[in-house]
Symmetry: C2
Subunit: 345 residues, 2 copies
DNA sequence: ACGGTGACTGGGAGCGCTCCCAATCCGGTG
DNA sequence: CACCGGATTGGGAGCGCTCCCAGTCACCGT
């Protein structure tokens, strides 16, 4: 049989194969494979010969071939609900990606980015993941009723969540200590002598939003606070605006607001200004995220910083761990937040 | 997490193969393959039988096997220099990704996200791309001396740039019409009766920055403007601050500033406030990007909007085109910008 | 000297898919 | 009724790699 190299995409110099390296080094395929994969049981002599051949030929393993036999893909997916990329403070997005990338840096894993926008895409994603096209999944911004985590568990796919669905989340996750952060924010307002401290919440089907609300409540005392001081919103500026208007109407005496996101806090500040209330003299404002928005409002906003990039890095490390050790029990990690005080409080 | 799969090849429920589908449908592998890939020359009868079998078995093609033989990977890489994710206005990042994802939406291509941070990683990326692990590359935020585009051309890898290296860029690219945008901004300032219109530039090794500077010059008249009205910076807030200080010192009479990015404009506004100049009464300010920052400065900032998400979408479509038709000549697309007038001017 | 031992090594057997070609089928022709 | 050509079909031959096992070989103990 002639070995007619009829490569369909025959551009560029044909890449050398394992076989070519073996021939050049005067050894068998098995030995080259062992060297490439760092297995032991290869004589020093053979190893150097192979390494030399690899260098000379510029050999790079064909990932598809490897995947075909090992059924490892050497890639992980980062799944982000697209809506969140609009609502949530912008840096959340880039910081997460940066953290994940950093966590993957000296692996040779690839990062697949998947934005899910519609319910239909969600289903496609499910099929996609079931097809085992990645070794693991990072899932951020999960809502309470998100079906994806359960799916992942069902198909036995390693996964780590950024944030949790509830405080009984079984899957592995990394999250910021939202409750403590919120509590610190409200206590800071109390320290400043504020007495009527309202809060603007995020969507309560997200645990992060609930936890921040809890922090507000706990800082104010054990018993549930006056409901008139709580306005529900959705993390958007528009929502923050509406919530602040409602609060002013219900509680003209309000002298401080803790918003569960910077963007909502910015909206609140607008409303306060229009209402003729000075910030911070009449009403103090504290946000959450410490995003770029917080630094540019007028006055600059006090906010609770969460270590998003580090969350991404940690999630990634945990995922790689779970991929490498399939039996591993799920782990839960909380990272500390930090109150950044500026002039709005 | 109950059963620890110790058998390497034992995946949850063994995924059905092409062969299984063929058996079930009572046809040969070739026929199933033809149906799956939409080739013609399949009788209606065979086709429906195959489709039925696929549905019943829940068959999903194994991508690795396909890649191995076709040497297509069905994935494209989006390469982003990591430094840019910090400097450039944040939404740039997420908008681009959103656009690219949208462009890929009804393909079954996957998106690989690659952040390049160090020179070493840059080299690894070169090796990676040379290994033909993706079908095409999207490259954003290219600097004038970026070696990557040439590499891509050398290895004959389909690529589309977001922005260009110079106005003689040979590779395909999509960019915003920076010069017109800048010109519109400066003309707007002239309309407002401003006479000493300074500009704060981005790093001039980026064509976008140069083009914005050109726009400033051309709006002011054919001849090169007074150099004292031009301050070079780097797209960062810090840079904008330094530049504005320098401008105030050199030209106390300055009555307007056009900054090549919102973040720099925000820095400039800070400096102006500290210097006791009112915006816009004493000095009008216009930014570029129309990012979230522009909406939250005090006063809200006039800015030049660029359709970033659309750029991402367009780039992606062009790339898919180039992948599908290898002979295609390179194309250059400029998208219009739009001046968004707010209270800072 | 000889079997035993452990360290290495080569290469067959696929992984699941696409390509391609020979084989088959069928209606229409002469 | 034999023959022809186009439409359809089945399945062999790999793609490049890892796994695994049967050797091979130098060396040791008795």
């Amino acid at each position: 049989m002639s070995r007619v190299a009829k490569n369909p995409a025959s551009r560029g110099s044909a890449r050398p194969t394992l076989e070519a390296v073996a021939a050049r080094a005067g050894v068998g395929r098995g030995t080259v494979s062992r060297v490439v994969n760092g297995s032991e049981g290869v004589s020093a002599k053979a190893r150097t010969a192979v390494q030399k051949a690899i260098a000379e030929l510029g050999y790079v393993p064909n990932r598809a071939a490897r995947t075909l036999v090992t059924s490892r893909t050497d890639s992980v997916a980062l799944v982000i609900p697209e809506a969140e990329t609009r609502l949530v403070a912008e840096p959340y997005f880039s910081d997460t990606i940066r953290g994940v990338t950093a966590g993957l840096a000296d692996t040779d894993m690839q990062l697949l980015l998947i934005l899910v926008r519609t319910a239909k895409e969600r289903e496609r994603l499910a099929a996609y993941l079931s097809a085992q096209r990645v070794d693991g999944v990072l899932l951020v911004s999960v809502h309470r009723d998100d079906p994806l985590p359960n799916l992942l568990e069902t198909i036995d796919m390693p996964a780590v969540l950024g944030g949790r669905r509830s405080d009984r989340e079984p899957l592995s996750y990394v999250h910021a200590d939202n409750e403590s952060g919120a509590r610190a924010a409200v206590e800071h307002l109390l320290d400043r002598g504020r007495r009527a401290i309202a809060t603007i919440t995020g969507p309560l089907d997200m645990e992060a939003a609930r936890a921040r609300l809890d922090g507000h409540r706990k800082a104010l005392g054990a018993e549930p606070p006056d409901a008139s001081l709580v306005a529900q919103a959705d993390f958007t500026e528009e929502g923050g605006i509406r919530a602040m208007r409602a609060l002013l109407e219900r509680r003209p005496d309000v002298d401080a607001v803790f918003a569960a996101s910077d963007v909502m806090a910015a909206g609140a500040m607008q409303v306060l200004r229009e209402a003729g209330r000075r910030v911070p003299e009449d009403v103090a404002v504290v946000g959450f995220d410490d995003s770029i928005v917080a630094r540019h409002t007028d006055p600059p906003m006090t906010s609770v910083r969460q270590p998003i990039e580090e969350m991404g890095r940690t999630m990634t490390r945990m995922l790689l761990d779970e991929i490498a050790n399939p039996g591993l029990p799920h782990r839960h990690v909380a990272l500390a937040t930090e109150l950044v005080v500026r002039e709005s409080s």
